[in-house]
């Protein structure tokens, strides 16, 4: 076995016969650490290990989407995830602000949105980030290969370049950080031929037009939300419940707001087939699961957002002996991020049971590198990971959902404080604030430890971050209430939650 596991669970580097330097024989190169996948987690791990003096290589290859979309180094987040998503969300929010502006005295012409211009600006930014990642790797002396990698044996991979040239790379430690890609439904006629996914949406040069988004994930809701905000006709088709892993009361309010905001939501429906009409538009036939009634609609674009598949298939994991969960195809890992083969690790979206979030992958990657270099023994703490869904009304959360808190502690031991509030910015333009809602889930017993915080309103991401720290510090309800509010903000409403659900009192905030 290559790595020794010390009594404290730390790792030691293998004592090598020939220390340091490139030890490559013809067509074969050796590294201390080889990272497969140049996304958030992989790059963070590679850069950290290189900074700590290791010889590191990153192997990254983007398989074009079924629609032929391709992109550069940086993984999902940079190219087809968080970054372009948040920028399109911002573009949509600006539209809303332009609508507010006349109430504040601005004279503005009827706003028109140019998708092409937005897409070009966003794509240029993404390309600059791709370039930035390349430069950073170079600065830190990390070798980068644009190869498609597969295992030859537990210590060696074979990289195939775009031209089909093969290179063998071996390493003491290998980190798999290949992430995932959007799933296409397999039993819906026309799905693959005519549908696109989020991999394509952000790289469209022209407006997608009237769009059907199929799915109930946050990706589905976010995409439909910003498309609506950009003035497009957007429909979301949800088979059962939206935002399944999230607090369901919050999920309900998120979708309720989307409907008010102009997105059409078809609940309890599932598509049967997609056909191309003679005018090149797409006709979708779906069934309402409750009534079994069929219906059709015509769209310019059909976007599948029905989940993601881990990128494990092309890796020849069986040659290395790395085990996966047969249902999810994700790689099984322990608390050290090690797979069933001790010197092979998996981080990010490809690892079983991990949140599919950029910052968790980055932190997991960095901590792994530090452990591999014996700089620290800290393990990644996957509890209390804050996240935000960038729907038109943003939803930020950290800690437990109300359901989960009740499941763990019992209803009698949980106290939920909540409030419907009106953001000051909503007042002048007379925006509807019916869904602006905050909920803090606490233990009932004093000092009422905070278990979870759920915030629905503008800038939820910015609001939630600091409170996530509070929860990490073991904040109690009383401590949060003792925090002086910042006036006038939405965040201050969190520090003013007085009404418990149990009391049955009206949680609507009035006045200052």
């Amino acid at each position: 076995m290559a790595a020794l596991r010390g009594p404290a669970g730390r790792f030691r580097w293998r004592v090598r016969a020939v220390p340091g330097g490139a030890r490559g024989t013809a067509g074969r190169q050796c590294y201390d650490l080889l990272v497969i996948g140049g996304g958030s987690g992989g790059l963070a791990c590679a850069k950290e290990a290189a900074q700590l003096g290791k010889k590191v290589a990153v192997v990254d290859y983007v398989e074009p989407s079924p629609r032929g979309t391709r992109w550069g180094l940086g993984g999902t987040c940079v190219n087809v995830g968080c970054i372009p998503k948040k920028l399109m969300h911002q573009a949509a929010l600006l539209g809303g602000m332009i609508h507010d502006a006349p109430h504040y005295g601005w004279k503005v012409a009827q706003p028109l949105h140019d998708w092409g211009k937005m897409a070009e600006a966003i794509q240029n930014h993404v390309k600059s980030l791709n370039w930035g990642h390349r430069v950073q790797l170079q600065d830190r002396k990390v070798k980068y290969f644009n190869f498609k990698a597969s295992f030859v044996n537990p210590h060696m991979i074979c990289g195939v370049s775009k031209g089909g040239e093969e290179t063998l790379l071996s390493a003491d430690h290998i980190v798999i950080a290949t992430g995932g890609r959007p799933r296409y439904p397999t039993h819906i006629e026309g799905a693959l031929e005519y549908g696109i996914t989020s991999d394509d949406l952000f790289w469209l040069k022209e407006s997608p037009g009237k769009t059907l988004v199929v799915g109930a994930s946050y990706v589905a809701l976010e995409c439909a939300g910003f498309l609506t905000g950009l003035g497009l006709d957007a429909t979301v088709m949800i088979r059962s419940v939206p935002l399944r892993a999230f607090d369901q009361q919050m999920a309900f309010l998120v979708t309720e707001h989307m409907v008010v905001h102009g997105t059409r939501i078809l609940r309890g429906c599932t598509p049967l087939r997609v056909e191309r009409l003679s005018d090149r538009r797409l006709q979708v036939t779906w069934v309402d699961l409750a009534s079994d009634k069929k219906d059709t609609g015509t769209f310019d674009t059909v976007l599948w957002a029905v989940g993601r598949v881990p990128e494990t298939r092309g890796l020849n994991l069986e040659k290395a002996g790395v085990r996966t969960n047969p249902n999810t195809q994700k790689i099984l890992v322990d608390a050290q991020e090690a797979t069933s083969v001790p010197h092979i690790y998996a981080i990010g979206d490809v690892a079983e049971g991990r949140p599919e979030l950029t910052p968790t992958a980055i932190m997991a990657g960095r901590l792994l590198a530090q452990r591999l270099c014996s700089r620290s023994s800290d393990l990644m703490d996957y509890d209390n990971v804050p996240t935000t869904v960038f729907t038109p009304l943003e939803y930020g959360c950290v800690g437990l959902s109300e359901e989960e808190a009740v499941a763990r502690h019992g209803e009698e031991r949980v106290e939920v404080y909540h409030a419907y509030y009106k953001p000051l910015e909503f007042v002048i333009p007379e925006r509807d604030a019916s869904q602006c809602y905050i909920k803090m889930v606490c233990l009932r017993e004093p000092p009422q430890l905070v278990l979870g915080l759920h915030f629905l309103g503008p800038n939820a991401g910015e609001v939630t971050q600091g409170f996530a720290l509070g929860i990490k510090c073991g904040a109690s309800y009383e401590q949060v209430m003792r925090t002086v509010g910042i006036h006038p903000t939405c965040a201050e409403e969190v520090a003013k939650l007085r009404i418990s659900k149990r009391s049955g009192l009206d949680p609507t905030v009035t006045g200052c």
Binding site: G461, E462, G466, G474, R482, A491, E492, A495
Partner: protein, 523 residues
């Protein structure tokens, strides 16, 4: 101690004496007493639940007649609490006291400021009208809240006439007298004028700006307070030509590195700063809405004079406490003569034990609405709810709503150095580029994040500073975390929310002492 006992026996008053050195838990009783009263020494004299003080203060109270008044205390008072002034702190105190079942009255009247101008139709009007409507509805909301919680709200001026007694004068000059066991002063502040030729006639204050019925045009803002910079930022953002005249520091009392960055972010927006000048004369050249004014200013460092033409001159040089005409001298409440502010101890008690003060009238405390609200509420709970928690003025988060917002909580760097010494601190900082700014091609090295950690206290975060969009929303949660003992390690261990500005605090690596480059490469 003996003298006090003699005093009470000479007055024929039964008193309950607890000899702390003769009881088992004396030390802990003393601890609790000092918590409640802020007095560590004994004797500690209470009369009818009011803490009078030690020996000296008891005799002073006897001489001033206060002691007799306190001894007479009985339910004959009209109210348990009268709040003078309708500031946020006073209102929150009144509401909380009412919730605790007390009889409470609020005396308040708003005096209009000197400038009142004619009405002209303009775009500006749409905005001010909408904002005024909102303020109106908020005032109605306050009144409703007061009524619902059974607080008597009297629209009159209040003035002390003797101990525990106040005269309320309404708009028609009718006088009514009320008595109460305890009083809270929450009269707040009014904008200050310069005391130069032309200031009251031709200048406006921030109080007037928000109800100004016409567009102010080219504006000179005099002052560098949060209100001054906020007004200047609003006007510049609306496309007006704005100049800010500053005597010395920007945002005095705030972290000066941050204050200068706020200033340069405003300069980027086109705001002009005239540093180290003070106006000496304002002349009206033309009447109108707005008119045309000439301002003559003098350098603070020499005799250099400059002149400028503006449509509007907005004074934001500070505020005067409204503590003058309320008869405080009659009952002996000490007031700082220069500032008009009321010195209080850490339980908001003035020099007269039954008179308290909250909000902007208090000396040496941050002038922030939410702090006043918190202080008022906690005061009511201590007075009537048997609680002992005091207001934490240090970890009160603050945000200056300049175009680029500045949020902070805890110590300014200068203040931290003064309190903890430089060698015991580590400052982590970075410039950052908000994602929304990238596509919009805004500057990549304007937004700034800084934390100040106490090295020998587990790297506890004692100062938090952020200059960037949505700083207000960002700062709130961090303030809650600081209340719970936030450390650098916890910041590092917390997962960021991607992509936000707030997440920058979870990845701070560069210390100021390292001198390393913090600029962001504009890819």
């Amino acid at each position: 101690m003996r003298q006090v006992k003699e005093l009470f026996s000479s007055l024929g008053v039964d008193c309950n004496i607890l000899e702390l050195d003769q009881v088992d838990d004396g030390a802990s009783v003393q601890e609790v007493l000092s918590e409640i009263t802020n007095q560590r020494t004994v004797p500690s004299i209470f009369v009818n639940k009011v803490h009078v003080g030690g020996c000296d203060r008891t005799f002073q109270a006897h001489q001033s007649g206060l002691l007799q008044k306190l001894l007479e205390e009985d339910p004959a008072y009209d109210y348990d609490l009268i709040v003078i002034g309708g500031g946020s702190g006073g209102l929150s105190c009144a509401q909380e006291a009412a919730v605790l079942g007390r009889r409470v009255m609020v005396l308040d009247v708003v005096v209009p400021s000197p400038q009142r101008t004619s009405w002209v139709k303009h775009n500006w009007e749409t905005m001010t009208e909408a904002i005024q409507n909102h303020i109106g509805s908020m005032t109605r909301g306050y009144r409703r809240a007061l009524r619902e919680k059974a607080v008597a709200h009297v629209n009159s001026c209040g003035e002390f006439v003797e101990h525990h007694k106040i005269k309320a004068t309404n708009g028609k000059g009718q006088e009514t007298f009320y008595t109460a066991a305890k009083f809270v002063i929450a009269t707040g502040e009014r904008p200050r004028y310069l005391g130069i030729q032309g200031d009251k006639e031709y200048c406006i204050t921030s109080d007037d700006l928000f109800s100004l019925p016409y567009c102010p045009g080219a504006t000179l803002v005099v002052g560098a307070s949060p209100a001054a910079l906020e007004c200047a930022g609003v006007l510049a953002g609306l496309g007006l030509e704005v100049t800010v005249m500053v005597r010395s520091q920007l945002l005095r009392g705030f972290d000066q590195e941050m204050a200068e960055k706020v200033g340069s972010s405003m300069q980027q927006l086109g705001v002009r700063f005239l540093r180290k000048f003070v106006p000496v004369e304002v002349q009206q050249l033309e009447k109108g809405s707005p008119g045309k004014l000439k301002v003559v200013a003098q350098s603070t460092e020499g005799t250099e004079m400059i002149e400028g033409l503006y449509n509007t001159v907005l004074l934001a040089i500070g505020r005067d406490s409204c503590t003058k005409k309320i008869g405080l001298e009659k009952i002996g409440v000490k007031v700082n003569e220069k500032t008009g502010k009321i010195p209080v101890n850490d339980v908001e008690q003035s020099s007269v034990p039954y008179v308290y003060a909250v909000g902007d009238v208090v000396e040496g405390k941050p002038e922030l609405t939410p702090v006043a609200v918190q202080a008022g509420k906690l005061l009511a709970r201590r007075l009537f709810g048997g609680r002992s928690e005091k207001c934490d003025y240090i970890n009160a988060p603050t945000v200056v709503f300049t175009p680029l917002e500045y949020g902070c909580c805890g110590y300014a760097e200068e203040k931290a150095v003064e309190v903890y010494r430089k060698e015991n601190l580590e400052v982590y900082h970075t410039l950052f580029w908000p994602l929304e700014w990238t596509v919009a091609r805004r500057d990549s090295n304007t937004c700034y994040a800084k934390i100040i950690c106490s090295k020998f206290d587990n790297d506890r975060v004692i100062g938090f500073h952020v200059l960037g969009p949505k700083a207000g929303e960002i700062t709130q949660g961090f303030a809650a975390a600081m209340k719970c003992g936030l450390t650098k390690q916890l910041l590092d261990d917390t997962i960021g929310i991607h992509p936000t500005c707030a997440e920058v605090f979870t990845t701070l690596e560069i210390t100021k002492s390292s001198g390393l480059d913090i600029t962001q490469k504009g890819c």
